[in-house]
Subunit: 172 residues, 3 copies
């Protein structure tokens, strides 16, 4: 159940969006101390079903996200932010991320991995501002070089009997 | 002729942006019933010059967008939103979309198609909120695996006599 | 030192974001006369250390950005906007750009160059609205086809003794 949006809420939304963006910046620069402060002390963060992809608390998250150092460079581009306030100090927030990663032995396009992901977050307003209390990452897709077992984004199948129309250009 | 922006208009802009994002979400999850409700009952939607790429009305659009099921997975990332109010209840809206598609026989990067597109929309405020009355999609570019005949984005050519400078790094 | 954000500031932020987006649109359509008007008359724009990548003033920038015509098509997708007001009429602004370029001899994915970049801008409010006085572009990464010597984005190295965990899926 989400609450109606007001002009005052736009300031809350702006602060929440800044947290989402600061997370992406923190990953690309690997400033993990600052990144961990975007989450509550007792946060739960799940990128996939495997134990190694589930982090608990700021300290655990800061340690676990060190795994990004196995890439030489990364770029996290955030978009599609949807914020729904569920109480005065709580919000459910969905966003999309295009995450590009280059392997440490890079130099060829074959060793870059791209993920088209979605963050589903629970935000809470605290004395330190809006923070992420719970994050679950889903994956719409990825290129073939990305092998991490992220949660898949559910997708509705076609109805029975559906057949594909021809919309591609025929060619020479 | 666009109208000056005010603080009240920021709430309208937020609602319009949510419609743009919900469209992307609807395509990635293929929840086409919900997606069709983002458009007016008599909407006109054109992705390209071919008849198969032009949809009329909510029912037509919902049926025609079933063509996305020929892909196994997709990801639509929205950005570059520009909203210009042309009347109290009307707005011209431009946005950019990075649309990634994986073929149903996927598993290789050779069968993913990426489009760099632009939506040019006419929004109207209705009793159901801001809805898309008219959408035209243009394409800035795409990778070679994408073969759908979308409207090309116009681009100004260089002036007569222009020659390319050298800005690439030389080197081994 | 950044200033607290208020509801009035949200209108400034919206205007600044529109300038960032109009720049991207101007590059993709190569409407360089309009693009130059997004900058102050005495602007400084640096994309990399080489002299050819540093532009001075509107006229210089308009001329130098003609180099984009060596590509057949481009797409600039903007995201991750962070605005910090440093005075009543000044703001430091960071944003991310996914910039796709197709070579004039294109037709193959091998000749498309993608950059994952970051703009660090100084904006000033003028009689013509908010304009970019100083822009420095950094690069988080790029695919192998991009050879321009952009400023690299700094990234913190792993602590001494760090070893990479195994998070990739094993499998056939």
């Amino acid at each position: 159940m989400s609450m109606p949006i007001t002009q005052e809420r736009l300031l809350d939304e702006r602060q929440i969006e800044r947290v989402l963006i600061a997370y992406c910046r923190g990953l690309d620069t690997m400033e993990l101390d600052a990144l961990a402060l975007l989450f509550t002390e007792d946060c739960l963060v799940s990128y996939g079903p495997d134990a190694a992809l589930n982090s608990h608390g700021r300290d655990g998250l800061r340690r676990d996200l060190g795994r990004l150092w196995r890439w030489r460079r990364t770029a996290h581009h955030l978009s599609n932010v949807e914020i729904d306030f569920t109480a005065a100090d709580r919000a459910s927030v969905s966003s999309a991320v295009m995450a590009w990663h280059e392997r440490a032995d890079g130099g060829s396009d074959l060793v870059t991995a791209t993920v088209f992901g979605r963050y589903e977050d629970e935000f809470v307003r605290t004395g330190e501002g809006w923070l992420i209390a719970k994050r679950t990452m889903y994956m719409s897709g990825s290129n073939s070089a990305f092998k991490v077992n992220l949660h898949p984004l559910p997708r509705r199948p076609p109805p029975p009997g559906w057949t594909a129309p021809v919309v591609e250009r025929r060619g020479p």
